[in-house]
Each structure stands twice: as structure tokens, then as C-alpha cells.
């Protein structure tokens, strides 16, 4: 792509937690970058470290018991070296976050307007009156009807979809350059999810923020993302453009995920009921160091090499990185 430096550059991120049962290696050596205005999806199943990665970027990990190592460069500054006040100036201002559960991430005793307004008052020094005006603007932006009335309402007076819109309004209030969205539609019904995804796409063209979208739903990924990072057991196993990942998945885990995801329209092709591809077995425990490839225990093509040696992540096709010893290398890429 262009020669300019990426907006966010994560290098060898490790986030570990010291628990009484031993060290949990939630994120183990993850590197990827996000360019300005780009949408990157981080996909994986529960426990793969995708949410911990997001929390690490915003330094929302309690330390101890957690500990973050590696580098998180945001516009060239390593966020891990900033003091807590400096980090606070970035949170909600340059980088903001949307959470999965809109009910628990909104303060139940403050009005919607106060919660949106507080961010701008803090970061931009606006007066209370201007802040409310901004809150109304933001609610209009996220498509909430009668915003002048809604700013004075409390979160419990809003439906789940409305609350997620408010969360987005809060996150966008200070025009962040990076929006970290952790499963933003998982708790919502499918028709409401469609509304929110539509809103996020629309806002992206208008606001121009880069989005790091964390999700387990490949359908959401296909609709929203330009680039995809696939995580498994705390590691990045594959990265590429959304077309590469969906049309030419190279890692056996990614292939397994694609195969096990039921697709709408399946009844039109087959006469009987179809079978889904299964990934056998279970995710390995993160409490013990994993020797060899993390996916070796479930991989259909596993060999002794995989069990003993963890594969390096390599560019097997242009801009398509895979951590698998046996992923075919496109001849053209060499």
C-alpha cells in the first residue's frame, strides 16, 4: 500500500495474566497494523485473545495480575510507555471503544446526554451547554429519533439497539482516529444488528475513523472489513485482505472455521440436509506453554514437525500471512 506509516502498529504483543493456577498467556506474540481509515477485523472463537488484544491497546488490562509486553505504536508513540494521565488523554479522544453489552457499559444513573457530553467536556473543554448541543448532534448522527428528548433520558429507557447507538455516539463524540469495536452487535437481534452494521458503514464514510472490529461472526467480517486477522489460542494464525481470507484461506483453522459456519441458502443447492465441517477436539489450555503449533491438536494435516516446532508467520501470497508449515506458497509471491 502507501508508504506512510500505519495508524496503529502492534508488534509482538504479549498479554499474560498471573493467576493462582499459573500464568495464562492470553495473547502471545501478536503483530499487525491498521492504516488510517481502514477497517480491520480480528476474528476468532472465545478465548482466542481477540478481546484481550483490544483491551491491551487501550491499556484497560489491570496490572497486576496482567502484564503487557511488546510495542503498541499509535502514530509512532508506544502506548505502553505512556503515563496513565497521558493514556487517559488518548482514550475516548484519539482511540475509543464500543463494547458488546450496551447495558452494562452505560452508567444507569446518568442521562444519555451527560454521558456523551462528559467525554467532550473532558477532552475538548466544552461548556455544559455546548456539550449537550454536541450530544444532540451525535444522537442525530447515529440516527436516534427525537434526539433533543432522548438526551435527557436514562439508559434503561432505551432499547438494546438504541443503547448501542448511544455507545457509538459516545465513542464518536471526540472524532477518534481509531474505533475499537468489541463484538458490537453480538448481543443484538439480527434485524437490529443489520441496522447497527448499516450505521457503522455509513458513519465510516462520513467520519473516516479506522475501525478495529472484533467479532466471531464471519458474516459480519465479510460485510464490514477490508482486512482480516484470524486469531487462535492467543496467536495470529492468518492475516490478509477480506477477499483472500474468504476465497483463499490457507491456514487449516481458517478453513475449518469457514466450513463449520452454516451459510444461508444452503437448502437451495442440496436436496437433503447438508453436513457442516467440524473442527475436531478442543482449544488447548493457555495455562501451559504450547510447544509446536497451537492448532496441532485439532489439525487434520498434522505432522510430527507441527507438534515440535511452532510455525513462523510468513507471507505465502502477496499481503497474505499464514502461520502454517504446510500452507502452500503461491509461486508468484517468492
Amino acid at each position: 500500500m502507501s508508504s506512510s506509516a500505519p495508524l496503529l502498529d502492534i508488534q509482538n504483543l504479549q498479554t499474560h495474566f498471573g493467576t493462582i493456577d499459573g500464568v495464562v498467556r492470553a495473547v502471545e506474540g501478536v503483530s499487525f497494523s491498521i492504516n488510517a481509515g481502514e477497517t480491520v477485523a480480528v476474528v476468532g472463537e472465545s478465548g482466542c485473545g481477540k478481546s484481550v488484544t483490544a483491551m491491551s491497546i487501550l491499556r484497560l488490562i489491570a496490572t497486576p495480575p496482567g502484564k503487557i509486553a511488546g510495542k503498541i505504536l499509535f502514530k509512532g508513540t508506544n502506548l505502553l510507555e505512556l503515563s496513565e494521565p497521558e493514556m487517559q488523554a488518548i482514550r475516548g479522544n484519539d482511540i475509543s471503544m464500543i463494547f458488546q453489552e450496551p447495558m452494562t457499559s452505560l452508567n444507569p444513573v446518568l442521562t444519555v446526554g451527560r454521558q456523551i457530553g462528559e467525554t467532550v467536556m473532558l477532552h475538548e473543554g466544552l461548556s455544559a451547554k455546548d456539550a449537550e448541543q454536541r450530544a444532540i448532534e451525535m444522537l442525530t448522527l447515529v440516527g436516534i429519533p427525537a434526539p433533543a428528548r432522548r438526551v435527557r433520558e436514562y439508559p434503561h429507557q432505551l432499547s438494546g439497539g438504541m443503547r448501542q447507538r448511544v455507545m457509538i455516539a459516545m465513542a464518536l463524540a471526540c472524532s477518534p482516529q481509531l474505533l475499537v469495536a468489541d463484538e458490537p452487535t453480538t448481543a443484538l437481534d439480527v434485524t437490529i444488528q443489520a441496522q447497527i452494521l448499516e450505521l457503522m458503514r455509513d458513519l465510516k464514510t462520513r467520519v473516516g475513523a479506522a475501525i478495529m472490529l472484533i467479532t466471531h461472526d464471519l458474516g459480519v467480517v465479510a460485510e464490514m472489513a477490508q482486512r482480516v486477522v484470524v486469531m487462535y489460542a492467543g496467536r495470529k494464525v492468518e492475516e490478509g485482505s477480506v477477499e483472500e481470507i474468504f476465497l483463499n484461506p490457507l491456514h487449516p483453522y481458517t478453513r475449518g472455521l469457514m466450513g463449520s459456519m452454516p451459510k444461508l441458502g444452503s437448502s437451495l443447492h442440496e436436496t437433503g440436509r447438508s453436513k457442516l465441517t467440524e473442527i475436531q477436539g478442543q482449544v488447548p489450555s493457555l495455562r501451559k506453554p504450547i510447544i509446536g503449533c497451537a492448532f496441532a491438536g485439532r489439525c487434520p494435516n498434522v505432522t510430527d514437525v507441527c507438534r515440535q516446532m511452532a510455525p513462523a508467520i510468513e507471507e505465502k501470497a502477496p499481503k497474505h500471512l499464514v502461520a502454517c508449515h504446510y500452507a502452500p506458497r503461491a509461486a508468484a509471491a517468492a
Binding site: 493467576t19 495480575p65 514437525v305 511452532a310 513462523a312
Partner: protein, 303 residues
Amino acid sequence: MSTTTLPPDGFTPAPKLADVLPPRKERSKLGMFAYRHPTIAVGGFMVSLFVLMAIFAPLLWTVDPTALAPARRTRPPSELYWFGTDMLGRDVYSRVIYGARISLIVGFGVAICAASIGLFIGLISGFIRAVDAVVMRIMDGMMSIPSILLAIAMMALTRASVENVIIAITIADVPRVSRLVRGVVLTLREQPYVEAAIAAGTRTPMIIIKHILPNTLAPVIVQATFLCASAMIAEATLSFIGAGTPPIIPSWGNIMAEGRALWQVKPYIVFFPAVFLSITVLSVNLLGDGLRDALDPRMAKRI
């Protein structure tokens, strides 16, 4: 696109990563338990110390705690009388050590009785709506009277004895346990595994025994330890005001009651039983706190 599979000697290993946190220390089983649950370890250790003290009181260099010796009244603590003697010349050390028996018997007795009765009432009223309406109103009525007043009133109706003290305090405590159990039962009833059991044709008594009861035990055990601690204080209070254990029996409340008149000149008579009572109650409460943290699933994730 033509593709080639890598030859086996072309494998590239991932770069090794340094450990961010020091590895977990190897601990013995007991060490691991104490590390995981420090309050249970400390509280449990101290409670067992007191229990041993009460059981082996005669072997702990004590003399007869009721032996009168008018010639040696109100001696201060010395090598001979470690905690001094009281106004009748009885050895305070021996009385305090033997007094642990009463405190622990009352504490454990009340905990066991109140927990079992409360469990029974709570289970029934959590499951049978008609019983619930009546029983819970009675419990509400009882809870509107301060429990120590209720216990005093009970004692006023009977003669002083350790059993009656236990009964009086138990009656005052039952409403709280019943409410707790009923609350737990009402939540458990909604659990999918209970619904699955109903769908599987399990009869109501078996549902209570197999599915509800085992899952109410944890909160009840925790509650029982707190009841034990508060019963010890209640016993001491009742004895102190003369409505508890008969004065002939050495109990911490009785010792303090007898030393009350001399508090300003001979404070040690009150001081030693008071310290023992406080430390015992503290130990039992520590144990209870530890158990609550260990048994409460919401706290289980605590790192």
C-alpha cells in the same frame, strides 16, 4: 495459480518469546491451599486451636475453675496465677480456658440448630407457595424484634442453662437463615437444570433433595459460621446481664459479669475473657469470610 508445498527441511520456526511473568512457584498441596485461601487457612487454624484448647482444658496447667480460695482474692497476674484471681479467689486463667467450652458449645450448637431449622423452613417455603405466604410473614414479624431482646425474653421464660441459651439464640436466628435459604431456593428453582429435571419426570421431593439442597449448602455453611460468631457474642451478652449461663459455670460472659464491679481497680478479670472472646469471634469470622469467597462462584474467578 500454481502452488508448491514446502520441503520438510524448509520449515521456519516461530521466534521464541520471552516469558513476561515469572512462572508459578511450586507449592505443596497444603501450601497451595493456604496461598489460594489465606483467610480460611488462618481462620481455620485459629478456630481449631480454640477447639483443642477447650477439649484439653484440664491438661493446660489449669486448676479447678470453681475452686474457691477466699484467702487469695483478687490477686494480680503473677507466675502462679497467670491471669490473676477473682473476688472469690478462683484462678482466672483456668476459668478463661474452661470458659472456651461454653462459648464454643453455644456457638457451634446455635450454628448447627439454626442452620438446619432455617434450611428446612427455607426449602419448604421456597417450594410451596401457600406455606411461603404464612411462614415468611411470621419470620418478618420475628425479625422486627432485635434478636438479643428476643433471646432475653426467651431466657426470662425458662431457667438458666446452656441448652436454654442455645435454644433462645437459635430461635432468634432462624428467621435470617430461612430468608437466606428461601432466596437461594427461589433462584435455584429457575435454573435450567431444575427445569430439565422437572421435564425428566423427577418428583418434587427428589428435586429438593438432589438439585436444590446440595446447592443451598454452600451459602448456608457460610451463614452458619457467621451465626456461630454472633451466637458467641450473644451468649456472652446474656451471661453478662445475668440472663444466660448459670453463674456457677465459668463462661466468658459470666467471668466478665463478675469482674464488672472491680473493673476500675482490677481490670484484668474482665480483660482476659474479653480478649479471648474477641479473638475467637474474629477467627470464626475470618473462616466465614474465607469460605464465602471460596464457595461463592462469583468470587471464584478472583485472581
